[in-house]
């Protein structure tokens, strides 16, 4: 899809990342990431397993503290903010986790309404109505709201996770491997939902995935992460003629090429 409106070239990016570094012990995961995400676009970061995609996402969300570098959201520096201030920034975010990460002690509707009740102090009755609407948005019947997450199939959990991510009308939505663990058809359906709902909300999207089919469906722009750096970024339409050997090897999935896969990365 390419429904994002073209923005003025001098519009400030929604998220601006400069020189982001993060290491765990001697294992350098992010080694100076520079990335801009414009308002209204849907950027997909592609890259192999263990290249630091998840760490990048967690740094932006404030779940991990970067070692160096800067992350700005709407021009505001978020590295070094206190927990309370970071919570204020996080109210702009929605997040779909890889395994949905639904709260299994709460019924589905309370999962969806969680951000409204806890974050935005909405009344329970009111939040419940919004949750029912969101469940319809993701193609689930409102009665599913009475079930518990353990009673749902993988595809349904993903949908509920999506409903929870969009419940608070976030400005920026993050998707962590949205199609992992789903069959190809269900993956396709979730991709379509993601594309439809992000453009309906006018939200900015940032996804990480290694599923190229999914990346093509949900992105307007792609960036490739390799060895802790962005090695290529550009519009999705140009991915097949990028001229970048890393991107070419990755999208063709060939074992031969410049991407070196040391053994330890398989276990990282």
């Amino acid at each position: 899809m390419s429904t994002a409106e073209p923005m003025a070239p001098d519009a400030p990016p929604k998220i601006r990342i400069r020189g982001l570094k993060k290491a765990f012990g001697s294992n350098v995961v992010l080694d100076g990431v520079d990335l801009d995400i414009a308002a209204g676009e849907s950027l997909v970061v592609i890259g192999g397993s263990g290249t630091g995609k998840s760490v990048l996402l967690k740094c932006i969300l404030g779940l991990l503290t970067p070692d160096a570098g800067s992350i700005q959201v709407d021009g505001e520096e978020t590295v070094g903010l206190s927990e309370r201030e970071m919570d204020r920034v996080r109210r702009k975010f929605g997040m779909l986790f890889q395994s949905a990460a639904l709260f299994d002690s709460l019924p589905v509707w309370e999962n969806v309404a969680f951000g409204l009740i806890q974050g935005k102090r909405a009344k329970r009755d009111e939040a419940r109505k919004i949750a029912a609407r969101r469940l319809t948005d993701v193609g689930l019947e409102p009665r599913v709201g009475e079930l518990y997450p353990a009673e749902l199939s993988g595809g349904m959990r993903k949908r509920v996770g999506l409903a929870r991510a969009i419940a608070t009308d976030p400005e920026i939505i993050f998707f962590d491997e949205p199609t992992t663990g789903l069959d190809p058809i269900m993956g396709h359906i979730i991709d379509n939902l993601i594309a439809k709902l992000t453009s309906k909300l006018g939200a900015t999207g940032l996804s990480i995935t290694h599923d190229m089919a999914s990346a093509r469906r949900i992105s307007t722009r792609m960036a490739m992460l390799y060895k802790g750096r962005i090695v290529w970024d550009g519009p999705t339409a140009e991915i097949d003629r990028s001229g970048n050997p890393y991107v070419e090897q990755f999208i063709n999935g060939s074992a031969e090429g410049p991407i070196d896969i040391p053994l330890q990365d398989h276990f990282a």
Partner: protein, 258 residues
Amino acid sequence: MVPVLQPLGRTFLAFLAVTGRLTLFAARGLSHCARPPFYGRSILRQMIDIGYYSLPVVGLTAIFTGMVLALQSYTGFARFSAESAIPNVVVVSITRELGPVLAGLMVAGRIGAAMAAEIGTMRVTEQIDALVTLATNPFKYLVAPRLIAGVLTLPVLVLVADIIGIFGGYLVSIYKLGFNPSTYLKNTLEFLTFEDVFSGLVKAAVFGFIITLMGCYHGYHSKGGAQGVGQATTNAVVSASILLLSFNYIITELFFAR
């Protein structure tokens, strides 16, 4: 010399690191107990879990302990013809020591393990990360309600255990050892002092804090899937039990050593 000292030093440093982490965790949890918003619904749910659902286990432990206490004291004291001290022994032992300690150990096994497993699973399935991204502080939402519920509920539970334990001693003394019921009751009430019961309840509140803190701490820091959660559960129960017994000594010393 070096091969001996090196692991020793490493173990000692690791111990200090854990102590520091635990203290910070406790301080953070406590600071969230004092600041709004309060999650009344969660506190109530935890209180029902810790208090109401532990009643059968704690009640059974207390009644058998009271019974065996009377029986053992009788067989021991009969040698000195001091059988009349049995109500005294039962009351003092139950209210000061056995009520709080045994109830605490049972709750550590039941609740400490359950909390570590629940929070640990939330950690490894990214539910805690999900809480954070929904702008909800996990300390406020998960840890503080459990700490508050533990501190408030354990004293009530121990009070019930005290009553059941003393009743167990009464049963054995009357129906097996042939004591006179009214004399036994009169002696029991005479020996019952406020300080004994109070010290037991203070212990209970401290134990409630230790058990819930250990459950939350080990759950919160668990990693590595199912095995990590299992490890966290074990650590929570073992560390809660050991801390509980050592704090039991310290509190006893504070109350009764003159």
